[in-house]
Symmetry: D2
Subunit: 313 residues, 4 copies
Amino acid sequence: MGLTIGVDIGGTKIAAGVVDESGAILETSTVPTPPTPEGVVDAIAAAVRTVGAGSSAEAVGIGAAGYVDDKRATVLFAPNIKWRHEALKDKIEQRVGMSVVVENDANAAAWGEYRFGAGRGHDDVVCITLGTGLGGGIILGGRLHRGRFGVAGEFGHIRMVPDGLLCGCGSQGCWEQYASGRALVRYARQRAAADPDRARTLLELGDGTAEGIEGRHVSEAARAGDPVAVDSFRELARWAGAGLADLASLFDPSAFIVGGGVSDEGDLVLEPIRKSFRRWLVGARYRPHAQVVAARLGGRAGLVGAADLARQG
Amino acid sequence: MGLTIGVDIGGTKIAAGVVDESGAILETSTVPTPPTPEGVVDAIAAAVRTVGAGSSAEAVGIGAAGYVDDKRATVLFAPNIKWRHEALKDKIEQRVGMSVVVENDANAAAWGEYRFGAGRGHDDVVCITLGTGLGGGIILGGRLHRGRFGVAGEFGHIRMVPDGLLCGCGSQGCWEQYASGRALVRYARQRAAADPDRARTLLELGDGTAEGIEGRHVSEAARAGDPVAVDSFRELARWAGAGLADLASLFDPSAFIVGGGVSDEGDLVLEPIRKSFRRWLVGARYRPHAQVVAARLGGRAGLVGAADLARQG
Amino acid sequence: MGLTIGVDIGGTKIAAGVVDESGAILETSTVPTPPTPEGVVDAIAAAVRTVGAGSSAEAVGIGAAGYVDDKRATVLFAPNIKWRHEALKDKIEQRVGMSVVVENDANAAAWGEYRFGAGRGHDDVVCITLGTGLGGGIILGGRLHRGRFGVAGEFGHIRMVPDGLLCGCGSQGCWEQYASGRALVRYARQRAAADPDRARTLLELGDGTAEGIEGRHVSEAARAGDPVAVDSFRELARWAGAGLADLASLFDPSAFIVGGGVSDEGDLVLEPIRKSFRRWLVGARYRPHAQVVAARLGGRAGLVGAADLARQG
Amino acid sequence: MGLTIGVDIGGTKIAAGVVDESGAILETSTVPTPPTPEGVVDAIAAAVRTVGAGSSAEAVGIGAAGYVDDKRATVLFAPNIKWRHEALKDKIEQRVGMSVVVENDANAAAWGEYRFGAGRGHDDVVCITLGTGLGGGIILGGRLHRGRFGVAGEFGHIRMVPDGLLCGCGSQGCWEQYASGRALVRYARQRAAADPDRARTLLELGDGTAEGIEGRHVSEAARAGDPVAVDSFRELARWAGAGLADLASLFDPSAFIVGGGVSDEGDLVLEPIRKSFRRWLVGARYRPHAQVVAARLGGRAGLVGAADLARQG
């Protein structure tokens, strides 16, 4: 199969793109994300038709946040779009006349990195995406591990702290409460509230209040060496690295790929993650272990990965 | 391939057995575990030769506690036997004249359960062994997942409690410190020390002191309904179930198999594990999920699994 | 001094009462709690004038939720009423023509129990109030310990879980997030959501949903032996008892008094608290230690205590 | 009363000193600490007689590690010397012919700092001693708070981490497992084992192994700016400061005094303690709060405090 189309459903826009066998995006079409569940379905179909018109694309891969069933056809539960048992594959196939594969968006991004990004040359790769929350994807023996019911790789919700922070999922102490963009902001706000003098630079980037601090302020301040921002990144990194050490004990991959907006800061966050990973890795002296590397495809990983999964069939 | 030989290396004895294609053990030979690393190698060879003599067995599978390399040939690190980079495959092949496969013992046991025990009919199975410590094995898509470096499935050392109990591995808060036979005894001793009146029955089974309480006392007392022993099993089960909920988020298997000595108590421990698993399972309302079942092969799982891995080649 | 007036400021009503030297309430006046900070001041004055008219009461004690300064005159911070540096003593004295003492409400309740309730005969008493939140009061050597700045005894906000649940105070892992009426409801809801079958009885008491479970449902179900409700009380009790063990290491009182709405369930909650207290009490074998007893004055403790503090001057 | 004698019982030596009303030590006598419980009693008596001969000292105060009863006469339990219900007051009075007061050693040191050191001018002071373990003393309203049974102020054993590190006291997660000299060494060893390259300087100070790192190496390396040693001090400080924030919620003193060997490093450890204290202090914006200051008397605090307690009678 030659060209395929990948779809990435974001909170503000939906992107569809024609992707070739080398993972290059040849053309894209973008539409705003509609507010209703059915509107999103329509918008996906429209974006695919627009970008696909005139191309020889033969199949579509869609990455969606949420649980996707083991047939890669139905979104069981999508927290943001409010899909419940949404038969997305059938609906889109009927409207665009191409075969469709639906995949969890973090899985699609992991697949993209594995095939065309930081995971090239590895057979066993575990990706974590430090975005607003924390997502992940698992490639074992060159295959995407989806789990028996299609819901493997929900890294964000393993319990890091018994009786810990409440999570939107209803559980407590979930990893994404401690290692994600949202956690980063919480760390910065708590520190700024407790010690406004020390956080002066950071506070000035926002509206002057702890509550007004946003993620981009923390990143900007950290790049300028602000101690509160740097401490906040380190706190996030401690949790991220400790969780990767757990994943090493479980999956034993040859590489961990760290993506998502938080990872855009590069070594500012990667180095403390590696430090924490080494500290908590069990048996480090007696075993070889995975590298921790930055993702390479940035925001394109999901679209490219979804397209490639459609190509694999 | 018809018959193969499986070897199980225990703390007190080494067992070798001839196993057929249905997983039945036709004959066994047992020798005491020698105190020296090289002595163990000799004893394995002797046991294999004894049981293999006169049989048509063609290959040997050895289950060993510790890290085994990705070629299934060398034991990188065995905490109890003090093997370090022990070329076990080569040594045994030279002495017994059959091809040898070395596998982590918990992996071997998991494979045994998958092929001939509680895992039959499942493709994606995660086993935990609640013995003195906590071990595990992973079968995904019908294949044993060994990891890139051969050390996947070290469940006992994922971190359940930040800044938690010290573990022999050098880390803190490892799962096996909270869910294992050793943990069970600690729970019982702590409770008996704090409240000797309530623990009277349990204390009488030992030497009357909290320190004198052993695992078998806790089991016996729990079967008789002793409140301290029952509480101790429940505490273990809370941690075991919470950990399985994490593994469900990661691996999404169709079944969890719980084996090891602690699981011999059956529903006394399985039911509270299931209760805790349900409580902490993320997204339980929106997704199908794994069953939690008891292992069926008991202490034979490792030997039978190792023999079958040798057959698979 | 003979008669004094005590004032209790609740979320829905403000009660003022004339109290004699034996702690008996001779007469009361109750008004609804107004919605504005200044309205509450007016209502207090009105209630005091009403109940004091015709009595020989000479002084007023007011119990207020929040931080009260070391002069017992100004409410520094009252989270519910939104007082900030409210000069309550001066305002009420001007309006009612009697001398006024302002005290933290949990301190007032502790003093009431110490003088006329479960604390009689003890010199060193620590009270915890398990209401919606968790409050406390400390009597050492027969004196109320207020602290240098008047804000001692904020038991609800000691950290029980590092990186634990967010608290309204801005910190994390505060004791009241784990041992309070609000925590009890959370435990019940989480358990009901995870296992609706087991929680059937409890769910039927409310609107059938986990979110519809209220504190009174948990109490009613627990009294009827419902397993989910009983488990929820036990979970609360584990945290309450563990915290009392900490307080024993710090204050070493002769008695702990447990009050507040949760304690109305008596031994249903007191016994598991004692069990947990014994389990976590340090050095229990080598030292005498405090009793854990139920409060006796119920909802009157605050009013009676405030009145008596006014008498002490 | 004019001169009194203070006694400090250390692990290697016992010191007795004549102390005047200003807290000055006029003369001292030191003997090695004998290995047997009764030997220690003899040695105390000998040291007191030696230093007291020719002085006009009239009373003796003895600081002892362990639980001391509420009559300040009997050591209920001394973990190191193996005293159990040792009637120390009577025995020493018989041998030296002076009245004797026995006090917990951390209480004595706190009293010394309160009277003649960093606590002068404060009425409500809480001291923590970061030595091998973590001890403490409480002065409220100018009086040493001993508790109903004489065992208040056992700060080292409040629970900072549920299910945390085992403590010699039999409990888990005790503060002194996270904030003490012993904890500091553990942090450094763990970090050095996990990342020997980064810890090169620190490792070279000892025998080159992680296990060979001692407290003095960590201090020396930290002063030289070694990152692993500095991180280890910061980790200790995070726990120390968080615990002080709890004590502020409970006791609300005007000053915290931090003593013990760890505090000898001054601002290297005090500044991160203050930072952590501010971060976790509840309600910091709405209330005045305690200063965190370094102890001033060093190792003399216990002897001087014991002598002054004897003077107070």
